[in-house]
């Protein structure tokens, strides 16, 4: 089980990766694809495909991809077309919020949960409480 974090900003996913690994531990591979090849804000299909492959190479039998904004979905679609069938079969994509979803997914994965449970944990982030009850 590996995570692939996709953002328009390389800085954002680098920081998020650091946070995810510190919170959940390093047993779950976390690959990132942030920004464009020439260092601008945006997303890049080849970078996303490379990140998915690197999570698979790191031992992930399945990978869960999280996105920051909907426009990344177009690059992701192109990226999955670059993958072969075996690789593509290992990719799950979620609507989950990027930051909260990545943390919850990584912790869920770290306790040996199934991919379905990891996806559910990530997606529960959309409605999670953050502010303390007043």
């Amino acid at each position: 089980m590996g995570l692939v974090l996709v953002s328009h900003s390389a800085t954002l996913v680098d920081g998020l990766r650091e946070m995810v690994v510190q919170v959940a531990g390093d047993a779950t591979p976390v690959a990132t694809a942030g920004g464009t090849d020439d260092g601008r804000l945006g997303t890049s299909a080849p970078r996303i495909a490379a990140a998915i492959r690197s999570a698979i190479d790191a031992g992930a039998s399945e990978t869960l991809v999280l996105l920051d904004l909907g426009s990344a979905a177009l690059s992701l679609e192109l990226a999955t077309e670059e993958l072969d069938d075996t690789e593509r079969a290992r990719v799950r994509i979620t609507e989950a919020p990027l930051v909260e979803g990545a943390v919850l997914a990584a912790v869920q994965a770290s306790i040996g949960a199934s991919i379905d449970d990891v996806v559910a944990a990530a997606e529960s982030a959309a409605t999670m409480t953050k502010l303390p009850r007043s």
Binding site: L104, V107, I111, G112, A121, T129, K130, L131
Partner: protein, 89 residues
């Protein structure tokens, strides 16, 4: 059901990293384990449930476990939380 009472002493309360470690530790046991705070209860094996409690400094919390490894689980979880809590018994 076995229970222990603890008082949160960490100035940040129970924040993300210790909460995640706690969930990982709880998940190693088969017992049903809950954490209670101020009348609310969260599944100790769910990070989202635990973070949803937003446990503040000086909160009194109860860990309760029910199952074949309940006592062992509570001892392990108290040890996991040791830097952040003190016994309230």
């Amino acid at each position: 059901m076995a229970e222990i009472q603890l008082l949160v002493i960490d100035p940040s309360g129970l924040h993300a990293r210790p909460a995640a470690k706690f969930v990982q530790a709880a998940s190693r046991f088969s017992s049903r384990i809950v954490i209670r705070e101020d009348g609310r209860e969260a599944d100790a094996k769910s990070l989202i449930a635990l973070l949803g409690l937003t446990i503040r400094p000086s909160s009194a919390i109860t860990l309760a476990a029910d199952g074949p490894d309940a006592d062992e689980a509570l001892a392990a979880l108290a040890a996991e939380l040791a830097p952040y809590v003190t016994s309230a018994d």
